[in-house]
């Protein structure tokens, strides 16, 4: 056991990543309890097992950067430091949610911390991400876009088109593939024509890197390198993080068994949060009591978020039409079509 590291920026950043991983995990656990107790609608797409990818990439991107995610997006607004109350309220469909209950858990965002947008149609967010990068290029803003997608989406035409377009225009964008091995129940080993999705980068003339998605520091370094390349005007990169979700595709969505239980168990035993905690202690980034303190703070933060969300009201029925258009005159049934 080495001595304590001096509290460098990197130590703080590393410990902060662990906190973010924990925040994501506890947030998801709380949401899952709410779902199972019948206090929220629909389904949940949890980040459980993949937190290191989210925390590492969130830490790699700059404060003004734009993160565009998928249907499995709880982690990004959390890991960027978003306020858990409005995020949990959004999951419950409350009017105090980040998107007033309209977006819900599959479109969980927080633009105030750069979790700018998410699209729940696989691959569909990537063209949009190319567009935000186009704006950055034209406005010379220096903002870089992070566009995430999974192994399933890697086979969507939209992903192919987006990478090609970003490459020919040398756009400031990082493509991050969160390869968790399954697209709902279909294994990547079956569906993807190459073992490493990063190998497809050469087809677009961009660098492709594979990184251990259980190691947030490795993810951070890989994404940061891609971010810096993009920010310097050298165009897009593809980073593929190998990871695993130890939960099903969605809570409340039963299926026949599609993967061996031993496989799930072996990933659970290598839980990235537990492993990283051990590493923080071993490398002297933090003490047991500091990490225990973080656990306690996160638990309290999540509990407060659940209370806030539970106590918040649902939107009124009259709110149904709000935000359909910027043009307020259209946010109501057409007057000409009312029955006498």
């Amino acid at each position: 056991m080495t001595g304590m590291q001096p509290a460098t920026d990197d130590t703080r950043s590393i410990v902060s990543m662990w906190r973010q991983m924990l925040r994501i995990r506890r947030f998801d656990e709380a949401a899952s309890r709410l779902l199972r107790s019948g206090r929220m609608p629909g389904v949940l797409h949890l980040t459980t097992g993949q937190e290191a990818v989210v925390a590492g990439s969130s830490a790699a991107m700059g404060p003004d950067d734009l993160l565009i995610g998928t249907h499995r997006n709880h982690g990004y607004p959390v890991a960027r430091g978003g306020d858990l109350g409005p995020l949990m309220a959004e999951v419950l469909g409350k009017s105090t949610g980040v998107c007033e209950g309209r977006g819900g858990e599959m479109h969980l965002i927080d633009p105030s911390v750069g979790a700018f947008f998410s699209s729940a149609i696989l691959g569909s967010g990537l063209p949009v991400a190319v567009g935000t990068a186009l704006t950055s290029q034209l406005q010379r803003s220096g903002r870089v876009t992070l566009a995430t997608f999974g192994d399933g989406a890697s086979n969507e035409g939209a992903v192919h088109e987006s990478m090609n377009l970003a490459a020919i225009w040398k756009l400031p964008i990082v493509f991050l593939c969160e390869n968790n091995g399954y697209a709902v129940t279909v294994a990547a080993s079956y569906a993807v024509s190459v073992r490493d999705i990063a190998d497809r980068a050469v087809a677009y003339g961009m660098p492709g890197t594979v990184v251990d998605g259980s190691d947030p520091v490795a993810v951070r370094e890989a994404v940061r390198a891609a971010r810096d390349r993009a920010g310097a005007g050298n165009g897009p990169s593809l980073v593929e993080a190998k990871t695993y979700r130890t939960v099903d595709h969605a809570e409340n969505l039963p299926s026949q068994p599609y993967r061996p239980q031993e496989e799930v168990d072996s990933w659970r035993e290598r839980d990235p949060i537990t492993c990283f905690r051990g590493r923080l202690l071993q490398e002297g980034h933090a003490t047991e009591s500091e990490l225990d303190q973080i656990e306690k703070e996160v638990s309290e933060e999540v509990a407060a978020a659940v209370t806030f969300a539970s106590d918040s009201p649902f939107p009124e029925p009259a709110a149904l039409w709000e935000h359909m258009y910027v043009d307020e005159s259209l946010n109501r049934p057409a007057a000409a079509l009312s029955w006498p």
């Binding site: 699209s119 063209p127 290029q137 034209l138 939209a158 088109e161 090609n164 377009l165 709000e322």
Partner: protein, 327 residues
């Protein structure tokens, strides 16, 4: 009095908007080589603001969305209506829904120009008229100007609109000439125009069927039937006040719509008028629409599919007072 072609009017609208607002950019396949046959347009603006797209409709439509969400005002040339199908997921899942699902935090001030080309032997896969599909999707504004003046006014309005707007352009009208004031006469999105006043039968037209309806109206006048022709020009929102006002006067309605009749704009107008102005009607609403048959390449067959002045005239006569024994 200044006369311009429809395309020249569009060119003017684009130049004016790109000049007055740095945020306006043009995206589309072949736009750099095909800017309406005019020289000098490209020289007016930085190359980075007028970008050719690779053959990637999905990426094109979506990139315009992302750019619009972050401060630009893209105008996208889709090339042909049939190509919009490739990008339908982007139109539906992104363009139309982002403002709502973000509770208004994200705006999508984007404009898409979708040309409607048909009855020109361009073949089965290139002759679609899909605007009713887009009408079914809430969250979009849709217009179809038929005159050069309206083309300029509505394209400018579309670009300035903070909501996403699709401008359908019936290519039949591209070469038409018309007076265009400076600035053009107002043609707000959501308004229809009375193209010809009349008392006996209301005819609503969309795109080139407006011209056909006007030709039919001229002939009908000789038969003692006075047709009022409405240029719908806005598909979403529809100007119900103008349509209802006209039907209240005439009691008879024909809708000429070159889309396939099933679930067409004509269907929506017919159903709505029957539902909300039943007491004004003196005859059934008749729709003159395209047959549910694909557009074959061979012209003799293809032309049978679409509305024309003759079909519109026959429909008007079939609902006119003369056909209903004075009813």
């Amino acid at each position: 009095m200044r006369e311009l072609t429809y395309l020249a009017a569009i060119r003017e609208a684009l130049i004016e908007e790109m000049t007055s607002d740095e945020a306006v950019i043009l995206l589309g396949q072949d736009i750099r080589a095909n800017l309406y046959g005019t020289a000098g347009f490209l020289d007016l603006f930085a190359e980075e603001r007028i970008r050719d797209l690779p053959t990637s409709e999905t990426a094109c439509v979506g990139a315009a969305v992302g750019a619009a969400m972050t401060g630009l005002r893209p105008v996208v040339d889709m090339g042909s209506a049939s190509f919009s199908f490739v990008a339908l997921d982007q139109f539906i899942s992104e363009v139309s829904k982002i403002h709502y699902m973000s509770a208004g935090r994200m705006r999508v001030p984007v404009t898409y120009r979708i040309p409607l080309m048909y009855n020109g032997g361009v073949g089965v896969q290139h002759s679609d008229r899909p605007y009713p599909m887009f009408m079914q999707m809430p969250g979009l504004k849709l217009v179809c100007p038929t005159t050069p003046s309206d083309a300029k006014a509505m394209l400018k309005a579309a670009i300035r609109d903070d909501d996403p707007v699709i401008v359908f352009e019936d290519t039949y009208n591209w070469s038409s000439r018309g007076a265009v004031d400076d600035p053009p006469a107002a043609a707000p999105i959501g308004t229809a125009a009375i193209a010809r006043e009349g008392d006996d039968v209301t005819v609503v037209g969309i795109g080139r069927t407006v011209a056909f309806a006007l030709a039919a109206a001229a002939e009908l006048a000789d038969s003692g039937v006075s047709a009022e022709v409405i240029d719908l020009r806005s598909l979403s929102p529809i100007d119900w006040d103008t349509i209802f006002g006209s039907v209240s006067k005439t009691g008879r309605l024909v809708v000429a719509d070159a889309a396939v009749g099933i679930c067409s704009a004509a269907s929506e107008i017919a159903a709505t008028v029957a539902e909300h102005r039943f007491e004004a009607l003196r005859a059934p609403v008749r729709r003159v629409t395209s047959l549910p048959v694909h557009s074959p390449y061979t012209p003799g067959l293809e032309r049978e599919i679409y509305p024309d002045a003759g079909k519109i005239k026959a429909a008007v006569l079939s609902v006119a007072k003369q056909a209903w024994h004075g009813h």
